[in-house]
Symmetry: C2
Subunit: 128 residues, 2 copies
Amino acid sequence: MRIAEVSEQYAISSDTLRYYERIGLIPPVNRNESGIRDYNGTDVKRVEFIKCMRSAGLPIEVLIEYVGLVQQGDTTIEARKDILKEQRQLLVARMKEMQKTLDLLDYKISVYENAVLKKEKELIPIEL
Amino acid sequence: MRIAEVSEQYAISSDTLRYYERIGLIPPVNRNESGIRDYNGTDVKRVEFIKCMRSAGLPIEVLIEYVGLVQQGDTTIEARKDILKEQRQLLVARMKEMQKTLDLLDYKISVYENAVLKKEKELIPIEL
DNA sequence: ACTTGACTTGGAGTCAACTCCAAGTGATAA
DNA sequence: TTATCACTTGGAGTTGACTCCAAGTCAAGT
């Protein structure tokens, strides 16, 4: 799979994919004879994983550490689990914050809806 | 209320509070005789609102637009409602993404837990 | 043979949102 | 009176995460 295909499939720009590789978030992708990236199944899976994690706001630094540990093999399983657990906890905290904000937004929107209704009533006398 | 108190109460740095005022996210706060900010109830409420919205990731630009409309009075109620509704929808979308990520994290963590259990079993022979 | 188009690189630029700094002021404590 | 301390300003610097660019390579189509 060429970079443009991966880019399209996951809606990540080619620039970003190269950037991820440059900073070590994705290990060096294999190249064909003319030096062009050829993403294999493992590469694509990793892109998918990164995309998912990034979409939830996990920092790139943490993800670099995590994929580094994955590369190092089974001895790092505990460390990897710890990272995921910590990020999970931070994610839950962020979601709770967002839920609070959502509740406030819903309340404010309902207040505005009522304000609009009231205005409409004023414009249309009861007799009609 | 002096800036340091507001800062402490809402865990927002004084620098950030001054920054918010400078960019128009908070309207100019009243000063005492020596030019020092004295936040009144309305100011504090606004800080609280901003903090809540920012913690959920609503962009500063959007919030500036919103508080600008609030300043302009009742004629802007529809526009304000539209902004809040749009941001609500974006927020729900982000939360859905995060829920997907949370599910994947939980799955991965459970896989790691099992891997650890398996390792422990290997170390402790059945006979014991 | 030449153009087109997708790729390559290293490095610079951008953006949002802060965060820090130097130099100055004014009220209180020793 | 002098030191301390919280505040003030305008402006510069930082951070995280991209995003863009110029110059070059290579394979395929006309």
